[in-house]
Symmetry: C2
Subunit: 410 residues, 2 copies
């Protein structure tokens, strides 16, 4: 019975949850007046006034007078303040590192990117990333006292709580205490989070209608990953390693995966897998446009396969058909297990037009159980370059809420 908590709810927690709800309501609907907030949230106007006064005092929100109200009845409109609390998001991609600085209003204040280059020496690499963060904050000219924290998003298994990179197949890292190293080097609190979770946070932040839903986000790029969000909250699991959709077994063929296993979705249908399959077909002398489009054999990548498919290349179409079938098999499994409301497909592979989406949707329909997941919608997520970095910025306030650390909003 050691770890079994019978958790009571007290007034402090109730107040905190209601403050959070009011804040989110203003973030999503502002500029908004207090009466409208009360209607949205179901609190009395005096309760809303008490909360908004506190939020104004802590400079979480700002007010301005509307000019549209009837004469003699000017109303005060509230919006989230972008000025006083800043968050830094870092997207450690395979080829590029992107850094975004935003305010509480989620609007980018400054962005910076530079090549990822060598990552073999994690500690040297961390120095470079921290230098980049310092540079971004410096060039952004913001008051450094307004920086609440930094979130570094990267592919791989991250341990919950410690931010230790347990395993990042793309980077060849095992057991790297990245969060500790970041915190030792930065004067702001640093969090390390999985890149697909950061992307998922961004999807939910930019689709407020999903805030009450079960959302799965699948990242289809060089590798394949995922995240699961319930009512706007990241789902971690027992050790923080949930959402590894790229390592669902989809084939008993002995195709080795970077994770050490075989037949994983990532080994069969990722961008890396497509490029590898195309190269092998070219090496076999298959009749295809792929080599010509790539210039030389070693320049073949997933994009080349999509381009060749657009030109009607039979081999490219066949490779994409097979990849879509495997992705659909994995998504059918996700639906049979989780029955989510929405599945967002994100990442570079989805930037190649609607055909691939439709193929995945068709394959999923065939592979999910009859009558299961009757409300699931599969759609393409946001494909903007800065999504993961922006999502990472949102992980900082999310952790603050979760840990009750965000002292200015207790």
């Amino acid at each position: 019975m050691e770890n079994y908590n019978y958790a009571k709810i007290d007034k402090h927690q109730m107040a905190r949850l209601n403050k959070q709800t009011v804040m989110r309501c203003i973030a999503d609907n502002g500029p908004i007046n207090r009466a409208a907030i009360a209607r949205h949230v179901g609190l009395s106007i005096p309760s809303v006034m008490q909360i908004t006064d506190e939020l104004l005092e802590h400079r979480m929100i700002v007010s301005r007078m509307t000019t549209e109200a009837k004469p003699g009845k000017k109303a005060e409109l509230l919006s989230v303040s972008g000025e006083h609390h800043r968050f830094v998001g870092v997207d450690i991609g395979r080829t590029t590192i992107r850094i975004a600085v935003v305010g509480l209003d989620r609007r980018p204040i400054y962005t910076l990117k530079f090549p990822t280059s060598a990552v073999e020496q994690p500690s040297v690499f961390v120095d470079r990333v921290c230098k980049g963060i310092h540079r971004a904050l410096d060039e952004s000219k913001i008051d450094l006292d307004t920086v609440v924290g930094v979130c570094v998003a990267m592919p791989g298994l991250i341990e919950e709580g410690t931010g230790r990179v347990l395993f990042s197949p793309n980077f060849g890292w095992k057991n790297v205490p990245l969060q500790r190293w970041m915190n030792e080097r930065l004067p702001y609190q640093a969090i390390v989070e999985n890149a697909n979770r950061a992307q998922g946070m961004w999807e939910v932040c930019t689709h407020p209608e999903d805030m009450q839903k079960n959302v799965v986000c699948m990242g289809l790029g060089y590798g394949i990953g995922g995240a699961f969000l319930q009512r706007g909250k990241l789902f971690y699991g027992a050790s923080g390693t949930s959402g590894e959709l790229g390592h669902i077994t989809v084939s008993h063929q002995h195709v080795p995966c970077t994770c050490g296993n075989y037949g994983c979705l990532e080994a069969m249908a990722s961008g890396a897998a497509l490029a590898r399959q195309a190269k092998a077909a070219v090496d076999e002398g298959r009749d295809t446009l792929i080599r010509e489009l790539a210039g030389e054999r070693d320049s073949i990548e997933a994009k080349t396969v999509f381009d060749a498919a657009k030109a009607g290349d039979a081999l490219a179409l066949e490779l994409l058909d097979t990849a879509a079938e495997y992705i659909g098999t994995a998504l059918g499994t996700v639906i049979n297990i989780l029955d989510p409301d929405v599945i967002y497909l994100c990442g570079g592979m989805m930037r190649n037009g609607d055909r691939f989406l439709r193929q995945i949707q068709d394959a999923t329909m065939r592979r999910q159980m009859t009558e299961a997941g009757r409300r699931v919608v599969i759609r393409v997520g946001s494909l903007q370059e800065w999504n993961v970095a922006l999502g990472a910025t949102q992980v900082v306030p999310y952790y603050e809420w979760k840990s009750e650390r965000m002292s200015f909003l207790r």
Copy 2:
């Protein structure tokens, strides 16, 4: 923004949640005194007194004086009352229907079972089940006014809210409004729930240490199903069809499944699949004890395969190896997606000794991603005959809480 609720929490909800927590604390730890409840739950003694007075008044709990206390300091000990609120659970199995009547203390008052027989005509079948419920309640001699409700647990996809059987491959049912029919025939409220969810409820009720955890329950019997519970609450998904672990694709072999798809775990590794595979091997003339143990070819079932394996039969061992490998593949996928704390393996297939469990654990370790699911424990769930019926009894108060209908505890 239509369906986007910014839900406030109010004092009513806070009081209700705390009442529920106190009730659960008494159920798990009773007989217990008020001071110990206050320590467990973190509420003040006056708050606990207010709640327990209300629970006593509504006859949810009973009190008795301890005889062990120091002289002059007799303490009042509280326990859940089994007398005043009764719940009926019905387990509609493939061969047997089991009915259990319990009190709030979860102790069986009466049990009754009879053969399932033909289910082809759902409406005739429902009449028979309702007659069974009437008989059980009649023979139990309990005051019928104490019956809060009935839960019918059966395999298949059940629509959340309506209790409509969307699809039950084992029974050949599609779109049967079972919950409505039950409610039309019974004077008590009736709920229809998936049998694996009922089993999962029972696991969590009988393992209070799992109440704060993510629990997956996999039912391995004639068919294969599952349930996912988060912090003691059933996870439904968007339409109520989550947890269909038997229909995870584990093979691209064209082995047809009862669900209309192919290569599902249920088609490759269920009790029905094992029996089918053994029969096919016997038909091929393979050297095996299976036929002899079964008496005749058509009497071969999964149990025969397990018995033959215990006698060292090479074919039986091979069939079980393959089944364990497929089950481990599916569980590896479950772990990669959900990273649960505990996986309970339940159902008839698990009643054949530890060897099969160890094989499944080994296969899962091989198939889950390296470093993923580091805290997952896979163990055999409770294998008692009455589990599903008892779990179903617990679904009734669970629905009552969820819907805030349990008026005597508002």
